[in-house]
């Protein structure tokens, strides 16, 4: 990346961020017409957050996030359908599936940089799609996997909470999202996170001062893949259905779009991005079947006028209103 890089780079975040997230988590089901819609937003926010770890923090543009999302969905669904495994086991399985595939994809893709890296992730994404299509005995092929259950939260044989109700499921997903968000902040504020940012800024230099950048990139891929896998599993439970489209290139593109439109400068951006794209789609698709055209226009406008995404826009607005630079854009690197 060049010196005059117009990309709004992610830095560690302030404490206030957590409060904002809580506010959104509490507010979403109250404002939106359906808890299912709110849950969908959080699921994609998780995926966008995972994508941002790669993109905003490490500088890796991956078209492969759909692979991990779809794999997580299939894995969880299959574990629940065929082995009657419970909620947490299914989620764990999805995380492992996503993380493992991310290990493979990452280890190969990082052998190249720049546009070749991007093309590799694109190629792998297409390959995963066609594999899923072909293994229709497992994946249901074009039809997808149907009748995916949504298990209860149980301890041994006692049912603690049924998630059948949309609101209950939303609550569960919200808690998960919060935990993942806190975890991601922790990762960013760690030595590992600081090194990711160094790699993003200047990989040669990072290598020259003692970091084996391959290990760092692979590890962030694995973390990203695991979280994306969990998101995929939750999506399967939300819809009771795993469509083939979960693993296609368009899914990877959507996740990237949410990440970039939300703003690569912070994790909160991923929440904003997922929220706006999902809401836009939901709101417009009934009104106007050609709503994708509007999405196209938005993409262009974001790049021309608001490269920092929604987050960047809000942050500058905040700066202007509050006058101080202390707040969100130039947060302390040490994570204090």
């Amino acid at each position: 990346m060049s010196e005059k890089n117009p990309l709004p780079f992610a830095k560690t975040q302030s404490r206030a961020m957590l409060l904002w997230v809580l506010a959104v988590l509490i507010g979403l089901p109250l404002i939106l017409p359906s808890a299912t819609l709110a849950t969908e937003i959080l699921i994609f926010a998780m995926a966008a957050l995972a994508c941002n770890l790669l993109l905003g923090y490490t500088g890796l543009l991956s078209f492969g996030q759909g692979i991990f999302f779809g794999a997580g969905a299939y894995c969880a669904a299959l574990l629940m359908i065929h082995l009657q495994l419970g909620l947490f086991t299914a989620l764990l399985g999805a995380a492992i599936a996503g993380g493992f595939l991310a290990l493979l994809v990452g280890a190969l893709a990082i052998r190249r940089t720049g546009i070749y890296f991007v093309m590799l992730t694109l190629a792998f994404s297409q390959m995963a799609y066609f594999v899923a299509y072909t293994l229709s005995d497992w994946t249901g092929g074009d039809n997808g996997l149907l009748s995916v259950p949504r298990p209860e939260i149980r301890l041994g044989d006692t049912v603690l909470l049924s998630l059948a109700d949309a609101r209950a499921f939303y609550g569960f997903v919200a808690v998960l999202f919060l935990l993942i968000f806190i975890g991601a902040r922790r990762v960013i504020a760690s030595p590992f996170g600081s090194t990711l940012m160094a790699i993003r800024e200047n990989e040669t230099r990072a290598s020259a001062i003692g970091y084996d950048t391959r290990h760092f990139k692979i590890l962030v891929f694995v973390l990203s893949g695991a979280v994306t896998g969990i998101a995929g599993a939750l999506y399967a439970m939300l819809l009771h259905f795993v469509p083939l489209s979960n693993i296609d290139l368009a899914m990877s593109e959507n996740i990237l779009i949410m990440t970039i439109v939300g703003g690569t400068g912070s994790l909160f951006g991923s929440l904003l991005g997922a929220g706006s794209i999902v809401l836009l789609g939901d709101f417009l698709s009934d009104l106007w079947p050609r709503w994708l055209m509007l999405l196209g226009v938005i993409l262009i406008l974001v790049v021309i006028f608001m490269r920092g995404g929604l987050w960047g826009g809000l942050a500058s607005l905040f700066e202007k209103v509050c006058g101080s630079r202390k707040n969100v854009v130039i947060a302390k690197e040490e994570g204090l």
Binding site: P191, S194, A198, N202, A208, G210, E333
Partner: protein, 249 residues
Amino acid sequence: MSILLETQDLELAYGAFHAVNGVNLKVEAGTIHTIIGPNGAGKTSLFHCLTGERQATAGAIHFDGKNLMRKPAHGRVGLGMARSFQLTSLFQNLSVRENLRLAAQGRDGARALNFWRRVDSQREHLEMADQVLERLQLTARADTLAGELSHGQQRVLEVGMSICSKPKLLMLDEPTSGMGIDDIPIMTQLISDLGRDHTVLLIEHNMRIVMSISQRITVMSHGQILVVGTQVFVRVDERVRTAYLGEAA
């Protein structure tokens, strides 16, 4: 005097062209050792081999008793080697302090793979960064983004980053490159200072600096070592003159 860094018949070949053509370098511990030579002499290529940025095609490199040939660049830092770049290579969008802290953290790069511990729990890296900030006289600019420093300050930071890993050997590639007349004495003083607790291997073109601080000078030409000696010796050597000025001189 013990030899800290030594190469034996080191070669770096790009096809038929030998950028480094059989170099037997000896750097004594505790000295400031400068490599000079006309453009294309192979100085930077030699540096690349020593730091691991390029894999030498033949010969051996021994550092502090260890054979470096197979060690990748990031691995040599842990052994006590650090370098600065001729073309400023910093983390532009990170603060000056963070640049230095990362360099300090890099000494044991693998430990940084810990993604759960908090960065500020590693006091020693922050302390090192602050110490170096003082030494570079950049404490006031600790929170400035590296990209916003003046060129001279950036060059100083370049050198500063190489100190953070507490290296035995500092390898500085044209540290004063592009610096203004006013800034150069600061750098010269810094390097001189560093020479007291580190071994310094330096590529330089600025003869005044070379002559004022070097204890030993290696002159390279056409990928080989022409002459090694003290500045007095090198200054009057015919071969050096010829190498720089051509046969007619």
